[in-house]
């Protein structure tokens, strides 16, 4: 169940990518509201996930069931040896006979989903979310000291997510009805738990007004408490202002039906939609550990974060070398006061700099790695673990600050937020070029169009 303290406020969600990230989630637990697990991670490493939830995870959670994984060409689910990825195999075996039999062999198509198949899959997917972690905690003997109600509160997801399939520009008509059938089926099987749907679409669907309107209306009218939205590879930094407006329109339609809408892969632009600047049309935003502010639907799972320094004014991660050049050129490394005033004053940066801007080097320490690329020797500097750790902690601090800015009592309205974004463009255009910072103008235009 959703804890009372976050029932009414916008959610800051963080994705648990790998067990190695657990420590960061614990260290920054006070700065976010809930954790999102991918179902294949729960299936593959149930002990690590259960221990995190039972012993360290002081946060409620939800599980993305990732049922879309089984509709794609099985090639995208294979490891480099040509075998089905272990985590996907384990997940498939939990999802009923249709998924288990097809995984890694042939994709699931709409014609395969009879009412009986929908019901079987729905039962299995709901059971997996409800019980996997509870069972594992019981096996570990970690539920012995808990009351029955406490087990539910700690080890069961705060919302259940109905099975879902990805909808492309050419296929949404085939999948939409099935996704709504899954929603209805899941709604019949809830036991008082909030039910969320997952709306996963190709960017090209957003470009089709009729498709977007039909899909948004269908999800707005579905039997559910909320909708988790995932637009394939929807980078707020790269898409056009028109795409941002269509995204907002989709969200607004579902939001106006009274459902909470959560962007499963969002950055600062989405965060601004949590508050008055964006009309509070989003009810939650999820991101990962530095990566995951946008994500491709396939391949399923995976993704290794590269250490980059999140540049607060620009709301994006930059290569350390580029930050160093920018900050040097603008005189922000002249002394610590200038650095904290113009670059970042988060606790991590204050602790690292500690009065000496030469310590900024700690964010970029690396080791030389040389390799052949297109017949030429290329030498790159790969960040060392300590640098990656600092970049990640700085990122999590900045995310905390960004969310707080837009859900606080004095959160900016659309005009003042747009003015801030436009001022940042003016500030950095000379150094970085308009093309590099133009996405901020797109964000400003989307939330407060100029007359």
């Amino acid at each position: 169940m959703i804890p009372d303290e976050i029932t009414t406020r916008p959610w800051h969600l963080v994705r648990y990518g790998t067990p190695a990230e657990a420590q960061y989630l614990c260290d920054y637990a006070a700065s976010f509201d809930a954790t999102v697990f991918n179902a294949n991670m729960v299936a593959h490493a149930p002990r690590a996930v259960a221990l995190f939830v039972g012993e360290r995870g002081v946060k409620p959670f939800l599980i993305d069931p990732l049922t879309h994984a089984f509709q794609h060409d099985p090639a995208v689910l294979m490891n480099k040896d040509g075998n089905l990825k272990k985590s996907i195999r384990k997940l498939a075996d939990q999802y009923g006979s249709l998924v288990s039999d097809r995984a890694g062999i042939t994709p699931i198509n709409p014609k395969d989903l009879s009412q009986a198949a929908i019901e079987e899959m729905c039962d299995a997917v709901m059971l997996f979310q409800r019980e996997t972690i509870v069972k594992r905690l019981e096996e570990e003997g970690l539920t012995d000291y808990l009351e029955f109600a406490e087990v539910g509160a700690i080890a069961r997801p705060m919302v259940l997510v109905a099975p879902y399939f990805f909808m492309g520009a050419q296929t949404w008509r085939e999948w939409l009805g099935l996704n709504i059938s899954f929603a209805d089926c899941a709604a019949d099987r809830t036991d008082g738990e909030p039910l969320y749907l997952e709306l996963v679409i190709d960017q090209a669907v957003l470009a089709d007004d009729a498709a977007t309107t039909t899909i948004a209306s269908a999800y707005a009218g579905a039997s559910a408490d909320g909708v988790l939205v995932w637009i394939d590879s929807f980078s707020e930094h790269d898409v056009s202002p028109a795409a941002l407006l269509r995204f907002m329109s989709l969200v607004r339609t579902i939001h106006s039906s009274g459902k909470r809408v959560v962007n499963l892969h969002g950055g600062y632009f989405s965060v601004s939609l949590l508050g008055p600047a964006g009309g509070s049309i989003l009810g939650g935003v999820c991101h990962g550990m530095e990566y995951g502010e946008d994500r491709a639907v396939v391949p399923v799972g995976g993704g290794i974060p590269m250490a980059r320094y999140y540049y607060p004014d620009l709301h994006r991660r930059l290569r350390y070398a580029d930050v160093l050049r920018l900050a040097t050129r603008r005189g922000y490394l002249a002394d610590s006061r200038a650095f904290h005033e113009h670059v970042c004053d988060c606790p991590v940066c204050r602790s690292v700099i500690d009065g000496d801007t030469n310590r900024f080097a700690q964010f970029g320490e690396g080791r030389e790695v040389s390799f052949q690329r297109k017949g030429q020797l290329v030498t790159l500097n790969y960040p060392v673990t300590a640098s990656k750790d600092l970049c990640l902690r700085h990122y999590l601090e900045r995310k905390r600050i960004e969310f707080a800015r837009h859900i606080s009592i004095d959160a900016p309205d659309a005009d003042s937020e747009a003015n801030v974004l436009r001022a940042v463009v003016d500030k950095y255009t000379e150094d970085l070029g308009l093309e590099t910072v133009a996405y901020l103008l797109g964000w400003a235009e989307a939330i407060a169009p100029r007359q």
Partner: protein, 141 residues
């Protein structure tokens, strides 16, 4: 003549000239996330970065500009050609020098002398010095 020359040929020829002039030369030196084609050290610890290009001077300037953060001077080096006003103006604005190499005469001409960069970073300088030191210790130029 340019058609038969590669960037590597150009760098080899210039390296020979600089060694004769008393510079210490290192090739492909990493600097932050980039790589400098050639670093030349004078006896006075002056660090000069050289970026080689057969054509596409705009790309050469863009790459050279990145090196100004850690070097005392930065130049681009191209085979002898008719240098356009736009190119010379762009180089002058950035304070980047221009070397021109004539393969026929095996001559290296300093067309435009570089200026000291306006913005350097002690952090980047230290990185570059460490990289050069590692090359020197490894006997790898």
């Amino acid at each position: 003549m340019r058609g038969s020359m590669t960037e590597n040929d150009l760098a080899n020829a210039v390296e020979k000239h600089l060694l004769c002039e008393g510079w210490t030369v290192f090739r492909e030196v990493p600097l932050l996330a980039r790589c400098v084609d050639m670093i030349a050290l004078s006896g006075a610890d002056e660090i000069m970065a050289i970026e080689f290009k057969l054509d596409n001077w705009r790309r050469a300037i863009a790459q050279a500009r990145d090196h100004t953060i850690a070097c005392d001077s930065v130049v681009i080096c191209m085979p002898t050609r008719r240098n356009s006003d736009a190119m010379l103006r762009a180089l002058d604005e950035e304070g980047i020098g221009l070397f021109s190499y004539c393969q026929e005469d095996d001559a290296l001409d300093r067309i435009l002398m570089p200026r000291s960069p306006a913005h350097t970073s002690p952090i980047a300088r230290k990185w570059l010095e460490n990289a050069i030191e590692a090359r020197a210790e490894g006997g790898d130029r």
